[in-house]
C-alpha cells in the first residue's frame, strides 16, 4: 500500500510539475519576448479587474480553445486526424518519466529514487518517446487531406529524424564518461569533483556535446530557429487544419517538449539535482569547512536546484527562440547532416581518446 502511494506520488509530482510549467510557459514566452523587445506584453485579461501581470492569459487562451469549433475537414482520415494531437502530446508527456528530480529519499524505511520511473535505460527511453512524437506530426500532416499540411508533416519528419540522429550521437560522449544509460547514475556521476574542487558537470567535461545537444534538441522539438515544419505565419505546417483544443494540444506538445529538452540538458550537462559540494549529509566545501543538514533539507535543496536549473535552461531556450531568425529548410538539413552529425561523431572519438589517455576515472 505504501509502495503504491510512493509510486503514485513520484508520478504525480512529475506530471503536475510538467503540466503546470507547460501552462506557465505560454505566459513566460509572451512576457519574456515582450521584455526583450522593449514591450509590455499581453496584460489585458483580468478577473474582477485583477490583471496579475497577464497571468490569466493562458487561462483565457485555454477557455477560448475549448469553446471554439472543433473542425474536421470533410476528406480527412477520421481516426488518424482525431488521434494525431493525442499521440503528439502523450509521447511528449511520458518522455519526462525517467528524468530524476532529486536523489534517493528515505520514506517509510524505503529508499525512493526521486524520479517518476526508475529505468536502467532511461536515456534511451526518453529518446524513444521523443522520436515517437514524430508519428503524431506525420499523422496530423497526412490525415488532414491538405497538401500544405502534408508538406509540413514531411518537413517535420525529415527535420526531426536528422536532428535526433545528431542528438543520439552527441550524448554518446556523456554516456561513455559515466558508463551508464541510467539518468540517475549520470546525474550522480556529475557530483564528483575534478581536481578536488570543480564539479564534474557535463558542460565542463563535454562542452562540445552540450552545444550540439542543445542545437539538435531545439531542432528536434521544432522550435524557432528550426520551425520550418510549422512556420505559423508564412509556410504553414502540419497542423493547419486543426482548430480548437486539438490545436491547443499541438501547442502544448511544443511547450512540454521544451521542458523535456530543458530537463534533459539539466540532467546530462548541468548536474541535474546536484548542488556543488552538497552531499547526502550536508555541504562539504573543498576548503575543509562543512555544514550539516538533515536529509529532508538536502532533498528539498536538490529538487529546488533541479527546478531552478530547468528554469534557467528554459530561459535560455526562449532567448534563442526570440533572437534567431528561422533557418531555411535546406540550411537546417545541411546544419544537421554536415554540421551537427560529423561533429558529434568527432566528439565521440575525442571522448574515447581522452578516456584511454586519462583512464576512465
Amino acid at each position: 500500500m505504501i509502495d503504491l502511494g510512493i509510486a503514485f506520488g513520484r508520478v504525480a509530482f512529475m506530471m503536475l510539475f510538467v503540466l503546470n510549467v507547460a501552462a506557465l510557459l505560454g505566459w513566460v514566452e509572451r512576457k519574456q519576448s515582450a521584455i526583450m523587445q522593449d514591450r509590455i506584453g499581453a496584460n489585458r485579461a483580468s478577473i474582477f479587474g485583477v490583471r496579475a501581470l497577464g497571468l490569466f492569459h493562458p487561462l483565457a487562451d485555454t477557455l477560448k480553445m475549448l469553446t471554439k469549433e472543433d473542425f474536421r475537414p470533410a476528406r480527412a482520415d477520421r481516426l488518424l486526424f482525431e488521434l494525431a494531437p493525442f499521440v503528439s502530446v502523450f509521447f511528449a508527456l511520458v518522455a519526462f518519466a525517467s528524468i530524476p528530480f532529486g536523489d534517493t529519499l528515505r520514506v517509510a524505511g524505503r529508499d525512493v529514487p526521486l524520479q517518476a520511473v526508475t529505468l536502467n535505460v532511461g536515456l534511451l527511453y526518453v529518446f524513444a518517446m521523443l522520436s515517437l512524437g514524430v508519428y503524431g506530426v506525420m499523422m496530423a500532416g497526412w490525415s488532414s487531406a491538405n497538401n500544405y499540411a502534408l508538406l509540413g508533416g514531411q518537413r517535420a519528419a525529415a527535420l526531426m529524424i536528422s536532428a535526433e540522429i545528431a542528438i543520439g550521437a552527441s550524448i554518446m560522449g556523456v554516456v561513455m564518461i559515466h558508463g551508464s544509460l541510467n539518468l540517475m547514475e549520470i546525474v550522480r556521476g556529475q557530483g564528483r569533483l575534478l581536481w578536488g574542487w570543480l564539479p564534474a558537470w557535463g558542460i565542463l567535461t563535454q562542452p562540445l556535446a552540450f552545444v550540439l545537444f542543445v542545437t539538435a534538441g531545439i531542432a528536434a522539438t521544432k522550435r524557432i530557429p528550426f520551425d520550418t515544419p510549422e512556420g505559423e505565419s508564412e509556410i504553414i505546417g502540419y497542423f493547419i487544419e486543426y482548430s480548437g483544443m486539438k490545436f491547443g494540444m499541438f501547442l502544448m506538445t511544443d511547450m512540454v517538449e521544451t521542458i523535456v529538452l530543458a530537463g534533459l540538458s539539466t540532467s546530462l550537462f548541468l548536474g541535474g539535482w546536484q548542488i556543488p559540494y552538497l552531499v547526502a549529509a550536508g555541504f562539504r566545501f573543498p576548503w575543509g569547512s562543512a555544514i550539516e543538514l538533515s536529509p529532508l533539507v538536502v532533498t528539498v535543496l536538490q529538487v529546488g536546484a533541479f527546478i531552478g536549473k530547468v528554469a534557467v535552461v528554459i530561459f535560455v531556450l526562449m532567448l534563442i527562440r526570440w533572437t534567431l531568425p528561422r533557418f531555411r529548410y535546406d540550411q537546417a538539413m545541411r546544419l544537421g547532416w554536415l554540421g551537427l552529425f560529423p561533429l558529434s561523431i568527432a566528439n565521440i572519438v575525442l571522448t574515447g581518446l581522452a578516456l584511454i589517455a586519462w583512464g576512465s576515472g
Binding site: 519574456q32 515582450a34 521584455i35 526583450m36 523587445q37 522593449d38 514591450r39 509590455i40 552545444v211 535560455v316 532567448l319 534563442i320 526570440w322 533572437t323 534567431l324 546544419l335
Partner: protein
C-alpha cells in the same frame, strides 16, 4: 550581400553575440520594470503606450472629426455655399440650403450631413470654406457605429462639438450615432 566569412559560417560566435544583445535588452528592461514596481521612478522598461488609458499627444495639425463653427447666437456660421460639398473628393457632404431670417446673411443649411464612412479626411472642405465654418480640430478619432447609416453625422451633432485642448485632448465627448442609442 557579401558571402559569409568563416566566423559567420560557423554560426556559434554570431549566435552568442546575438543572444548577448537580446539578453542585455531583457535584463536592462527587467531591471527597469522591477525598479518601477518598487516605486522608484526612472526610465520605463518598455516603449509601449497603453492606448485607451495613455495617449501620446496629437499634433495640432491633426485632421480629426469635423465640427461646424457657431456664431455668437449659436446658429451655424455656415452659409450653405456648397463649396465644401463641391470640393469633397469623396462626395461625403450633403447640404440642403434654407433662407436665413437675417437679410444680411444669405443662407443657412437646413441639413448638413457628413458621411464619415466615406470621408477620407483630406481637409479640402476646411480649406475651401470661405466662412471658416467647418474645421477638423476636435481631436476626436474614435467614432464608430453599428451600421453605415450610423456613420452619417448630422448638423446638430457637428454643431455640438468643441475644439480640442491645446495638447490635443478632445474637449467634447464623441457624439453617439443614432444606431448606438439603444
Amino acid at each position: 550581400m557579401s558571402p559569409m566569412n568563416l566566423r559567420q559560417r560557423f554560426y556559434l560566435v554570431e549566435v552568442l553575440s546575438g543572444l548577448g544583445l537580446t539578453g542585455a535588452h531583457f535584463f536592462r528592461n527587467m531591471g527597469r520594470h522591477i525598479a518601477r514596481s518598487f516605486g522608484r521612478s526612472g526610465v520605463s522598461g518598455a516603449v509601449t503606450i497603453q492606448y485607451p488609458e495613455e495617449r501620446r499627444p496629437y499634433s495640432p495639425r491633426l485632421r480629426s472629426l469635423h465640427r461646424l463653427v457657431r456664431r455668437e447666437d449659436g446658429s451655424p456660421r455656415c452659409v450653405a455655399c456648397m463649396m465644401c460639398e463641391t470640393v469633397c473628393p469623396a462626395h461625403c457632404i450633403y447640404i440642403v440650403a434654407d433662407e436665413h431670417p437675417n437679410p444680411e446673411i444669405e443662407k443657412v443649411p437646413r441639413r448638413f450631413d457628413i458621411d464619415l464612412g466615406k470621408c477620407v479626411f483630406c481637409g479640402y472642405c476646411v480649406e475651401a470654406c470661405p466662412e471658416d465654418a467647418i474645421r477638423m480640430d476636435t481631436g476626436i478619432l474614435e467614432f464608430s457605429a453599428y451600421s453605415r447609416g450610423g456613420m452619417i453625422y448630422t448638423k446638430e451633432m457637428l454643431l455640438s462639438l468643441e475644439p480640442a485642448h491645446p495638447d490635443g485632448r478632445p474637449r467634447s465627448p464623441i457624439p453617439l450615432p443614432a444606431d448606438r442609442q439603444a
